[in-house]
Amino acid sequence: MSGLHLSRLALSHFRSHHRTEISVDARPVAIYGPNGAGKTNLLEAVSLFSPGRGMRQAAAQDMVRRPEALGWKVSGILHSDGRAHEVAHKSENGNPRQVSIDGKTAAQTALGRLSRVLWLVPSMDRLWIESAEGRRRFLDRMTLSFEPAHADLSLDYAKAMRERNRLLKDQVRDARWYAALEAQLARTGAQIHQNRLTALEALRQAQDGAETSFPTADLELTHNDSELPDTENALREALAASRSRDMIAGRTLIGPHRADLVGTYSAKGVPARDCSTGEQKALLISLILANARALAADLGTPPIVLLDEVAAHLDETRRAALYDEICALGAQAWMTGTESGLFEALGDRAQRLMVSDSAGTSKVVTVGLLA
């Protein structure tokens, strides 16, 4: 997987974009324009080139341009492993997103074999102080970038857990049925736990070996009320032992779905949740960069990185350091900001797109020459 990047991106009736076509090269892409112009919508379109619901976690029908609501299409040329692939996503009549790769319908998970896309969006700024669910999702996105099969495992685990929760709610007392579901939960859950630990170790190594201007974070996986059993057998036994307690609660109280990611500002030894807003943001950027470096080392090419409104939160020195690290990594990073000046330090190392709004429709203009 060498030189992963998009060279063409076309949006049709996607959010604020009526018809937008962009040609870019493998360099970072700096996107600037006023609030509400449609910059983040471009990033969301790029985020669809990885499995899942994209960086806004939105349903396909929410991505349609209104008021037309005709359905939408996002297509592009994705360069992966030395080959160019035509990838298209579309949704019609409110139906789920359909993916095609080189003209053939494909499962979303197939995108995981072609590309890796990482993102940092403003809604993640409160990651360290909000509920554990957001941190689990953040960790699972990072884990998925290392192990594409993590998506299927998570779906299977969630399905088995919904089944078990229904039994608990209905006060069903068939021990064999519980045991059968717990066997599925234990098989998938232990693998999910192991994948997460492997991802955390890869991140730790990537942070340890890097020269970076951003603070490093110590990451630890914890469970809500006890040690999370880390083997299939131990998890199966723990689930069986927890049945009475779970029946009172009406849901499954043990398993990787209850895990939490605890971050600590390494240099200060301060929990991430107690750090200043700026420090919390810097820790997140540090983790995204570490994730990108680990993937580059693992796959031989850096992932596509999406950084929404990241420049505005950094002082000039940190901003320049971020750009230097992205350029050194060689990643096609798509970055947004309200002003072109925010990207001045990039010089000709990046290409620029100016996005404006004209009567509710986004207009994109390429500024400057492509390399």
């Binding site: 499962a107 998970t109 594409p148 099969a149 299927d152 299977d156 399905k159 088995a160 919904r162 089944e163 078990r164 229904r166 039994l167 209905d170 069903v172 068939d174 064999r176 049925w177 045991a179 059968a180 579901l181 066997a183 599925q184």
Partner: protein, 185 residues
């Protein structure tokens, strides 16, 4: 009405109906007679759940099929798939679905109690679980295996690389299953 059948959309249903009308004597009349016969005689086998024209199907009535092996399948289509291969010479038991708490399908909604009652009288020595590799399928397989533990030998179909399959086209889960089920050459 034709368009409501599985596998037929409005366009293919129209084409099928027009074809039958054009070939009235050759296709439509014989088909309608066969359909009437099926409607009058088709029923589920009281023993295994297969579809036949008698209370007990041909497979259950065939003494040669009582070889001590019983294959458990989800529905009749799976039974027919197994029969097409011609390899399995034992008897079947059609569950009529898989366990699903969300769809309110429990052991009693499937033919699991009937399966248990067949083991002794039919001298079953091996139960072969031929259920889908989905969460529901595997949960059902685990449930049945648990219930049969200590009574008979329980096996399941292998999962992995299909005959004539190319590794490049397999998903990660199948490759993992195949690797875990590797065997000496």
């Amino acid at each position: 009405m034709m368009a409501k059948l599985p596998g037929l959309g409005p366009r293919s249903a129209r084409r099928a109906v027009l074809h039958m009308i054009r070939k009235r004597a050759l296709v439509l009349t014989p088909l309608s007679e066969v359909m009437a016969t099926v409607a009058a005689t088709a029923r589920e086998c009281l023993n295994c759940g297969n579809v036949g024209t008698a209370d007990i199907c041909d497979i259950c009535n065939d003494p040669k099929r009582e070889n001590g092996q019983m294959c458990i399948v989800e529905d009749v289509a799976d039974l027919w798939a197994m029969e097409r291969s011609g390899v399995f010479k034992g008897r079947y038991h059609v569950l009529g679905g898989t366990l699903s708490a969300l769809d309110s399908i429990g052991p009693d909604e499937l033919r699991i109690p009937r399966l248990m009652s067949r083991i002794g009288p039919e001298a079953v020595q091996e139960v072969i679980l031929a259920l889908n590799a989905t969460i529901d399928g595997q949960t059902t397989a685990h449930y049945i295996a648990d219930q049969l533990e200590g009574q008979v030998s329980v096996t399941s179909l292998a999962q992995g690389v299909p005959i004539g399959g190319e590794l490049d086209y397999l998903d990660d889960g199948t490759i993992t299953a195949a690797l875990n089920a590797r065997r000496p050459v």
